[in-house]
Each structure stands twice: as C-alpha cells, then as structure tokens.
Amino acid sequence: MLGQAVLPALTQRQSLLFCQRSFGIVTLPSTHLLIQTVILGMLVGGVYALMSSGLTLIFGVMRVINVAHGAFLILGAYCTYWLFQIAGLDPLISIALTAPVLFLLGWLVQRYVLSRLDNPERSSVLITFALAITMEGLMGTFWKTTLRSVKPEYASQVIEFATYRFPVTRLIGFSAAILVLLMLYIILQRTNLGRAIRATIQDRNAAQLVGVNVQAVSAMTFGIGIATAAAGGSLLSMIYSFNASSQTDWITRILSVIVLGGMGSLPGALVAALILGMMEQLTAVVVTLYWSPIVFYLFLFLTLIFRPQGLMGEITREKA
C-alpha cells in the first residue's frame, strides 16, 4: 500500500507521541516505536554499507585509504542532481550513466597519481586528502554552496506494512545497496578479475609471481570502488541534502564504518554499517536527534579499546 505524502522518517514530535516513559533526557520508546526505529536503522545502514563497500575494497587490495571517497560520493550526487534537473532523469537510472564516468575517473587517479607513490600505505591518506579538498574546492566553485537534493515523485512516499512505515527512498536505497553489494560479491567470487583481486588482497607479491598484473588489477579495483561511490552518491542525493563541503561529514562516517568493521573486510563493512545505522537511529529516538551522530563515533572509540583491529579485521602488523 502506498501512503500519501507523509514525512519520510518519523520526526522528533511524532516519536514523542509513541513514547511511554522518559527519564531526564533518556526516553523509553514503546515496543512498536523501537521496532520501527530498528527498521529505519537497518535501511540507513544498508546505504552506509554501499557507500563504504568501495572504500574497504580499495583498502583491501592496495592498502590505500581513499579519503577522497566522500568527495567522489558528492560528485556522484551532483551528477545525479544535474541529470535530474536538466534531463529529468530518474536518480536510479542515472547511476547507469554516472557509474562509468566515475569508474574512468577512479581508474585515472590510480593509474596516474596513486601508482606513483613509493609507500602508498604511509602517504596515500594525505595525497587523497589533498585530492578531496581540491575536488571540494572545484565543486564548491562550480555548483556553489546551496544545499541540494533530488526529489523525484516518490521521494516523500511511505509504504505501510503491518503498521510499520517504510519510506520509499530509503527502501530503494537499501535494495540498491544490497544489489550493488551482491554484484560486487559476484565479481569477486566468480570472475577472473575477482580472483585476481582476491589474490592481490591475500599476497601482493605472490599474486605478481603467478602472473597477475597487479598494476592493472589495482587500477580496475580503484575504478570499481569509485563506481560504487556513484551509486552511493545517487542514493545520497535522494535521501539527504548536500553541498560540496558535506564531503567531510560523509567521509568521516564511512571511514568509521570501515574501521569498525575491520579495514579491508567487505562483510565487516556490511555488519558495521548496519550496527552504526541502527545505533544512530536508536539514539535519535531514545536521547535526541542532535546526539545521534556522536554515538556513531563514541561506539567506534569504545570498540577500538577492546578490538583495535575492528570487528572482522585480521591482526596484521601494519607499519604506522
């Protein structure tokens, strides 16, 4: 059943109506609201998972931490916005156009910038950060600082199922995220490129010895990783409003996701994204909306005390 235009997520006021008791700033929600919140958290987490999948894949293959990932997300979002404004193209369809463009961009960055570094593990963070602020500056100059978002007709619709609400955009976001992750999984498990990528993740030198062209694999992986940012950006443009400087906020979130999940682990990123998405939504309901992002980072901090390698990361003796 498609409901009419209602707010996509529960607002603070609405959520208070569902609440049973409150203790100071902590409010105990009713079971119904709790389940509703968990559902929303899962949906948000799915989108986070999609956004961070490319980042963790890139790290796994070439030990490069791509700080420019957030900027690529925003670039994807702007391309979607542009296509929507000019050609009226649906954000989901425009992924088919933006993904190849971003793939090419990522390929070029790896081929001509990152491959020149002697010690990618040490210097990649800063060089990709420089890339990120360059991109932010260029996008900010080109598209100005107005907050944008893409609102197709279904943007404000909500599907109601067994008295629980599913905002359509988030549902689409979640399904698209699952779809892209599934595609990534198939590429990694079933194709020759995937086998080469996994071999490179396991042991770079050994992969080279058995005839894997590590340079080419790296460039392909970087391209694929950035292409997922195109999909992520297109979903971002529907669910959130953005401008060029939102990239810092996003890169911090998705970096937290992959650190929590264990750097380089795809399943780890998925689990961490779902956990963080839910934590964020739960805090928004139980405490206040304003404190929700903080829980995200605090949870990351606390986890690292007990598991410095992240939830699913392997303990490697990485040089600092």
């Binding site: 020149r116 950060f129 990120a132 360059t134 932010e136 500056g137 100059t141 890169i251 690292l304 005390i305």
Partner: protein, 330 residues
C-alpha cells in the same frame, strides 16, 4: 659557504630579530594579522610534528585540542575573569590531560585506522560543543570581552601587537620543546617507533608510553595556541574551531616543509599561510582557495614527497660529496 648559509647561527638571530621588530615596522593591520596567523600555523604544525613527524603517527584530529583550548580559555575568561594570556598556559594542562586519555585509546590503532579515529575525535568534540549548549552556548558560540588588560581596552591600532608577541613567545617555546625532544632519548625512541614499532618494542622501548606522552606534549601547545586564538578573535563557535580542515592544514604544512625535521613545519607555515591569505585576498572567499591549496599539496606530495628541507639538505650533501670526491681525485 653553503654550510654557513644553512646553519642556525645566522638564521636563528636574524629570524628572531625580524619577528621582534615586525609589528613596530609594519603598521598595516592586515599584514600584522597575517603574521600572527602565520606564527600560529607554525606553532600548530611544529607541535603536531612531535607525534606526527617524530613518531610517524599521522593525526588529523589535533584541531580537537586546539578547539578545546579555545573553549576552556573563553569559558574561564567569561565566568572567572581569568585573563587569557595567563590562563591559557594553565588551562592547556587540562587539554594535555584529555589528550593523554584520548591518546591512550586511539594510539592502540595503527596507520590508516589511527587517522580515521583522530578525525572522529574532532567530530565528537564538535558535536559535544554544539549540544552542551548550557555551557558552550551551542551553535551561537562564545563571545569574549574586547582584548585589554584590567579595565583598559587596547586601542584598535595597537590591538594586534600584544597578540604578536604572545604568539612569538609561544612559537619560541614550541620550537625549543620540539628541539629538546628531538635531542633527547625520548625523541630517539619516537623516531625508532616511526621506523619500526615492533623492533623498537623489542629493544625495550615502552612504545605505548612514548606515543601517549608525545601525543600529550603536542596537544599542550595546541591548547595554548587555541586559547590565544579564541581571545584574538573574541568569538568562537563549534563549526569554526573544531574543523577537520584546521587539522589537515597543519599536517600539510609540516609535510611541505619537511615532516620530522625541526624547522620544516616553520618553513612550511611561512610559505603556505601568506600564500593562502593571498589566494583568499585575490579570488575572494569562494571555495577556489580550497582547490588551489589542494592542488599545491598534490604537486608537492607527488614531486617532493619528503618536503622542502630534506630535499635541499640532500642536494647540499650530494654537492659536498662531489666536492670531496673531486678533491680526492685531484
């Protein structure tokens, strides 16, 4: 000749003399402002260098300590009427304590994970400052009384001069501390950690203690600088002072000049900060200055990854070698 040109015996007194005389000679408010900001950038970058350069732990989150210092000083000024020029030195000890605790947690991670954790740190501080509005006044920020001493407010023509000398004192102290650390066994331990943490531990260095202490020391000067800064602007707000970009700027300045060297961060600051001001002055406050800044850094990191100072000293060493070889062959 070359050796003399590179020695501190010339540069140190010369630089100090120029900086001492600067506000007396240069009466333009704008250029006085630029110089204060430049020295502050040098302070931030040099103190970052203690953990980021010597120990090799790239923290992008030092803006957190900068901002914390700023907030503490502003609060103490407004509530207890403590003069920032004095209180900032004591309140920075609190900043250092916080840094020791946060360092103890975050320094368990290595490499890239550490970078991410430190970025998260800035966001935590910013969100706390935004949300604890009963203390921090939330997004509206904190305002301080106009700079002065006692009941006397400094006149607008003179207002930047005390800040200039305050920042100069801080700069000298920071460089001195950085130099002492570099010379000490502690500094050698940090460099050992940078080169190979596992081996450093194997030869008996308490790596965790060393790293956490280095983190704390670098946060101390950050805190002092933040305190002076908040009084200089008499206004701070969370978005502005807890900015990841501040943290990145100090890192990039250190890298430009030469990470892990004593004078590299200072040199980098004296290049980047005036340049940045020039770009903003020429192109206006648009985001194009971000693009220019990022572009310069991309070029530097690709073609001069070690930074300016190490590159120069390599060239000098090469020449020296060639000269000696020549002399021997003749």
């Amino acid at each position: 000749m070359m050796r003399l040109l590179l020695s501190n015996r010339i540069w140190l007194p010369l630089g100090l003399a120029i900086l001492l005389a600067y506000p007396l000679v240069q009466r333009s408010q704008y250029y006085q402002h630029v110089m204060i900001m430049t020295m502050m950038a040098a302070v931030l970058s040099s103190s970052w260098n203690i953990i980021g350069g010597y120990a090799g732990y790239t923290s992008l989150g030092h803006a957190a300590f900068f901002g914390l210092g700023g907030y503490l000083v502003a609060l103490a000024h407004n509530h207890f009427d403590w003069h920032p020029f004095i209180s900032t030195w004591f309140l920075a000890v609190i900043v250092m304590t916080v840094a020791l605790i946060l360092g103890w947690i975050s320094l368990r991670t290595h490499g890239s994970a550490f970078v991410v954790v430190t970025i998260a740190m800035v966001f935590i501080f910013r969100l706390v400052a935004l949300n604890l509005s009963s203390i921090t006044n939330g997004a509206r920020g904190l305002t301080q009384p106009r700079p002065g001493w006692g009941d006397v407010q400094w006149s607008p023509d003179f207002i930047k001069v005390p800040f200039h000398y305050m920042m100069l004192v801080l700069l000298c102290l920071t460089i001195f501390a950085s130099w002492r650390i570099r010379q000490s066994k502690f500094g050698l331990g940090l460099i050992a950690i940078r080169e190979d943490e596992g081996k450093a531990e194997a030869v008996g260095i308490n790596t965790m203690l060393y790293k956490v202490l280095a983190f704390g020391f670098s946060a101390y000067f950050m805190g002092v600088a933040g305190g002076i800064y908040s009084y200089f602007f008499t206004y701070i707000d969370p978005q502005f002072i807890f900015d990841v970009f501040t943290g990145v700027t100090m890192v990039l300045i250190a890298i430009l000049g030469g990470r892990g060297t004593l004078w590299g961060p200072v040199l980098g600051a004296f290049i980047m900060e005036p340049l940045g001001n020039w770009v903003i002055g020429t192109f206006g406050g648009t985001q194009i200055h971000l693009a220019v800044f990022g572009g310069i850094l991309l070029v530097v990191m690709l073609f001069m990854p070690q930074g300016i100072l190490p590159t120069i000293s390599n060239v000098v060493k090469q020449r020296e070698k060639a000269r000696v070889a020549n002399a021997v062959s003749q």
